[in-house]
């Protein structure tokens, strides 16, 4: 970890695809600095040779037969779409 994390709030909000107001940017810059300052604590520990743990228990690749099981109809699956027509989600024009 670097000594003082530098936070480019516009870069992060762009990666996260969240528009932020100026007030939010100021507030999150401050909060993130303070939280990242706190997590620097982990640097006190020597973790060389320690296996990273992604998961509490070893899970090996789980296989199943490739067969259709879901009984959900397209109509049902589309019920929550904010805009739809003929079982398709309507989105703004992507290609001009």
């Amino acid at each position: 970890m670097s000594d003082k994390p530098k936070i480019d709030i516009d870069y992060i909000s762009n990666l996260a695809r969240v528009a932020l107001s100026e007030e939010e940017k100021a507030a999150y810059s401050k909060d993130l600095s303070s939280i990242l300052g706190y997590v620097e604590k982990l640097n006190e520990l020597d973790t060389d040779g320690i296996e990273p743990m992604a998961h509490p228990y070893p899970v090996y690749n789980v296989w199943r037969e490739d067969k259709v099981e879901s009984k959900m109809s397209p109509e049902k699956a589309m019920e929550n779409a904010p805009a739809s027509r003929q079982n398709m989600v309507i989105v703004p024009k992507v290609v001009e």
Binding site: M1, S2, I7, I9, Y11, I12, S13, L15, A16, R17, V18, A19, L20, E24, A27, Y28, D31, L32, S34, I35, L36, Y38, V39, K41, L42, N43, E44, L45, T47, I50, E51, P52, M53, A54, H55, P56, Y57, V59, V62, R64, M72, K76, A77, E79, N80, A81, P82, A83, V89, V91, P92, K93, V94
Partner: protein, 489 residues
């Protein structure tokens, strides 16, 4: 009789239903009346569907009169945290993002509850997307602690705890990513169990941090919690992280293990830190109780405890930033009305749909996963996570279970911590290690603070040994009378 049904235990009610002294419809009606009388003040429910609940209860009564009862939970009302999918019911996660979402399918734990005949009752309030420790991050409404309405119920499963404490549900389901079942249980004076990671399927649970999330039961007694755990546990093909191991008979284990002299560990790091002295008193008394019944109590060490909060807020926010990418304004969420183009649709929909704590965590998680920082934060945290888990496994070589406080203080006042996210995060100090290590842990009521707020005792157990954990808690509960103490509302 139906006036007082709402404060009876699930096991007592199961016996009354079985003997046909009461009907399931009568029981749900008592719960509905109680909810209507108190929930305006408590705010435990985001919504409820009275007609649907009465229909479920009616079906339960019909089964019972046909001799087709599905078991002890048949007809028992269970409140559901608004984070689990129930076909045809809203699933809001207390977020504007999912304000209009209606579940097209059942979560596996819900399917199992339906198979047990339980009456699914309402959608319980929570911190938005389960992110928070006070339910103050709910976009739906304020939720209050039934013991003192000026205080928070804890979180994120604040509604699940408050509903059970206030008699608005007999039992409930919550979810626990860093203490979200146990901490509100301790603040509201109820029992809450986070099962071992993998014990209960996560299929149909809106994901927060997938390597930490677990669904679990809450109730007013250990037996009630055991009954619900029994119903929802087990392997599920639709969750590859659910574990293929035997599910014990949890209720039977309570009587089988009665009188057993456990070896219990006191993790010294949980007693060294800045806990409020008065709220430690009941915990210390509970330790004396276990000694008095012949349990061996010894000090153990979990040396990496002080690193747990830092580890957690890296792992949990990283996973959350990735999981919450699905709420994009395109397929099933809130969509902004005004945007420039298809990319801006994401930016604006997410800006409008997410509340401030959710955005904060998405930002933090995005940062720690961003190019150049991954090794320094996420990978480092995953390595420390291994050390935290190893601490527990070493302690369990010597002891059957650990006992500790659940929370460093009783329920705080509303607004007290909202301006300081880090201090809010630090209030989870005793609960998050269990999620990082994947072990089961439970909070049971063990006393009250000077101003009458409940205090919880946390019991942490070995992986997949929930029956032991429950039995240790049951021994304490049997010798005390917290089950029948209720808030004045």
């Amino acid at each position: 009789m139906s006036d007082t049904l709402y404060y009876k235990s699930a096991s007592e009610l199961a016996a009354l239903l079985e003997k046909k002294e009461i009907s399931a419809v009568e029981l749900i009606q008592s719960i509905i009346n109680r909810t209507k009388a108190v929930d305006e003040r408590v705010g435990a429910f985001n919504s409820f569907d009275e007609v649907d609940a009465i229909a479920q209860a009616g079906a339960s009564d019909a089964r019972r009169s046909d001799g087709q009862s599905l078991g002890p939970l048949d007809g028992i009302p269970i409140g559901i945290k608004d984070v689990l999918a129930v076909t045809g019911q809203p699933l809001t996660c207390s977020s504007k993002m999912l304000e209009k979402f209606v579940s097209p399918y059942d979560a596996t734990c819900i399917e199992k509850l339906k198979a047990s005949g339980a009456v699914l009752w309402g959608r319980l309030n929570m911190d938005e997307f389960a992110m928070g420790s006070s339910t103050e991050n709910s976009a739906t409404k304020v939720c209050s602690n039934p013991w003192n309405l000026d205080h928070v119920p804890g979180g994120s499963s604040g509604g699940s705890a408050a509903a059970v404490a206030a008699g608005e549900a007999i039992v409930s389901l919550g979810s626990d990513t860093g203490g979200s079942i146990r901490q509100p249980a301790s603040h509201c004076g109820v029992v809450g169990l986070k099962p071992t990671y993998g014990r209960v399927s996560r299929y149909g649970l809106a994901a927060f941090a997938s390597s930490l999330d677990q669904v679990g039961p809450m109730g007013r007694s250990v037996t009630d919690v055991a009954m619900v755990l029994q119903a929802i546990s087990g392997h599920d093909d639709r969750d590859s992280t659910s574990f293929k191991s035997e599910v014990a008979d949890y209720v039977k284990a309570l009587s089988d293990n009665a009188g057993k002299k456990w070896t219990l560990g006191l993790p010294k790091e949980y007693f060294d830190t800045a806990s409020d002295a008065a709220s430690m008193e009941p915990v210390l008394k509970a330790i004396e109780f276990y000694k008095s019944i012949g349990c061996e109590v010894k000090e153990v060490s979990l040396p990496h405890t002080e690193y747990a909060v830092a580890t957690y807020y890296i792992v949990a926010t990283a996973e959350a930033s990735s999981n919450l990418a699905r709420y994009d304004g395109v397929r099933y969420t809130h969509r902004a009305e005004n945007y420039d183009d298809h990319i801006d649709l994401y930016f604006q929909s997410r800006a409008e749909g997410f509340g401030s704590e959710v955005k904060r965590r998405i930002m933090l998680g995005t940062y720690v996963l961003s190019s150049g920082y991954y090794d320094a934060y996420y990978l480092k945290a995953q390595k420390v996570r291994t050390l935290i888990r190893n601490d527990f496994m070493k302690a369990y070589e010597e002891v059957d279970a650990l006992i500790a406080p659940t929370s460093p203080q009783p329920a705080f006042k509303k607004g007290e911590k909202t301006s300081d996210p880090l201090s809010m995060y630090l209030s989870d100090i005793y609960t998050i290690s269990a999620n990082l290590a994947g072990i089961p842990a439970m909070s049971i009521p063990c006393g009250f603070s000077a101003d009458g707020l409940p205090i919880g005792l946390q019991i942490l157990g070995k992986p997949f040994m929930e029956e032991e954990l429950l039995s240790v808690g049951h021994a304490f509960e049997q010798a005390h009378d917290f089950t029948n103490q209720h808030p004045k509302l």
